[in-house]
Amino acid sequence: MSGVPAVKQHVWLGRVKVAALVAAASLACGRPSPDQDGLPDAVGEWTATSETSEFAGDDLFVYINGGAEIYHEHGFDRLWVREYARGDERVAVELYTMAGSAYGIYSYARSASGRQVDLGAGGTLADYYLHFWSGPHLVAVTARDGPGDAQAAVLELGTLLGAKFPRVGQPPHLMALLPVEECVPGSERYVAGPIGLNNAAPRVAALFRGFEEAAVAHCRSAADEEARLVVLRWADPTAATRAVSEARERAASTEGVNGGPVAEAGFSFRFDEDEIMVGDRAGASVRLAVARGGDESHLDRLFPIDNWEVSHEQQERTQ
């Protein structure tokens, strides 16, 4: 029972959608043995200090009380958790399995300021934790006592675990539409629904609805102009056109937002706090930039239109 007026829960749509989109990739990846074996009793000099806890489906709400929705939005299937110790060092290992590719949840979970490490299909090491992904799996290794001397230990245990996970999987095609050279490394996010978009780009989430997937990154130009760049993709061009039209209507009825079209398929919105959102549509996709203190030319400088059109055509062909 819920006291909230009945609505269709997006988490379930997201789960089905993600599963459908990447089922083929998942099958191609295969699943490494952790799927069946859980987490081992010992890893090198590290010894398990707890039994393996397993959470499937909605049980994730027990483990991540209040924050499980983003995992479900990315197609959460199963989680194993176990703690390990080596002397006084204590580390928690979480092994998530998603219905499809784990890239999306990896791109959310990893540290934006960490350094890349060569584990699985990609990994990021922060000061006291690391994440890597492989096909449908996301592995998180976290020092229980937080920052300090934990980084080396986390990397060591992560590397030992990583040997079980092959370099399997590629980021979704949509990510290729972001201007990689301009993006701050580690800021790229693949978004599967409204929860992720609201977290990554709340201005955009407030105006645009119903997309199939999105790619978000923080970008900085050679001239040190900064912006959040977003690519949204709908099911078809008609849905994208409707979404842009609805965004204009929402902006028009939102206090503190002023805007108007800059071209037939384009839009720009100005927010009270000297922020601007500029974008345009091509086919089923929209590219946009949100920047503070910018103007309508910001989009093309940070998100060159030539690249966008070429990339978009390539991306459409791969759908």
Partner: protein, 322 residues
Amino acid sequence: MSSKNGRSDGADNKESPLRITRREFVAAGAATGALVATGLGFSETGATLPAGLAVAHGPDAATNTLAVMDALGGMDAFVAKGQVVHILPNAQGTHPGTSTDLAVVRTVADLCRQAGAADVRWFTWIYGNYWERSHIGEFVEQSGAELLRIDHEAPSLWRTLDVPRGVTLKTVRVCEALWECDVFISMPIFKHHIGSNFSGSLKNYMGASHPEDNRAFHPTWESDDVVRMEQCVADLNTVVRPADLIVADAMTILTSKGPFGPGDIARPQQVIAGTDRVAMDAYGATLLGLEGPKVMMIQKAHEHGVGEIDLGAVGVRRIETA
């Protein structure tokens, strides 16, 4: 372990820098040497309790907790002899900066007992064997408090409430444990949250509302409401029992990837206490670089009349314990 003055770990051989009576405290005001008053100071509301927030900064969580409780007049001002106390901390998980600091929880539990509480209990609806397998069981055991496990499938343990002022939330189930005590103490940790950007006193009540209802707080395409969680939390706060005391942990906090982490960590080394949920969160938001009035959940709760959002009007008393 108790010290010679009956206080808890972390306070051994160290007198609180603010061991003065509430009467002395109020009289001394900003002139008290150990205090650095940066707000308007405390003002009296009602017959017994001072209004405002007390903020203690220093490296030791237990000492900070003792300091803020002294600043609010001591635990005696909140707990009388023979009373039953229920405590709701945030026991999110093992990742740093996600759960209320154990030293803060333990110190509050100790102070309740010293004030003469007949029973001090935690309550939670977290179910299954996760409790035993996680650090939370250890957490409870070390706190010395009893544990009430709320079976979320037992209707008698839940009170269904209409939310007449609810904008989004119309009814909600809240565990009876919130009312089945003489004193309710909320013990959040201030941290980031993916759904609302901030988690603190207001959101801590989702630890008392039914987990199935909580899931409907999140935004959906169909709801056309991207600030759904913020609104639901604000709505929820209009019908729950207000905490008799809030003691919030901001020693080590998660500033990204909340509420669960792992993510970026900050170490404000603060403990904050008060009775106003909105004011507490308006202050807590600043520790994450946010402005309280611009955090939708806090703003909406204020609009509901849950509490005061203007920290200047509330008064913030700062205490250095280092």
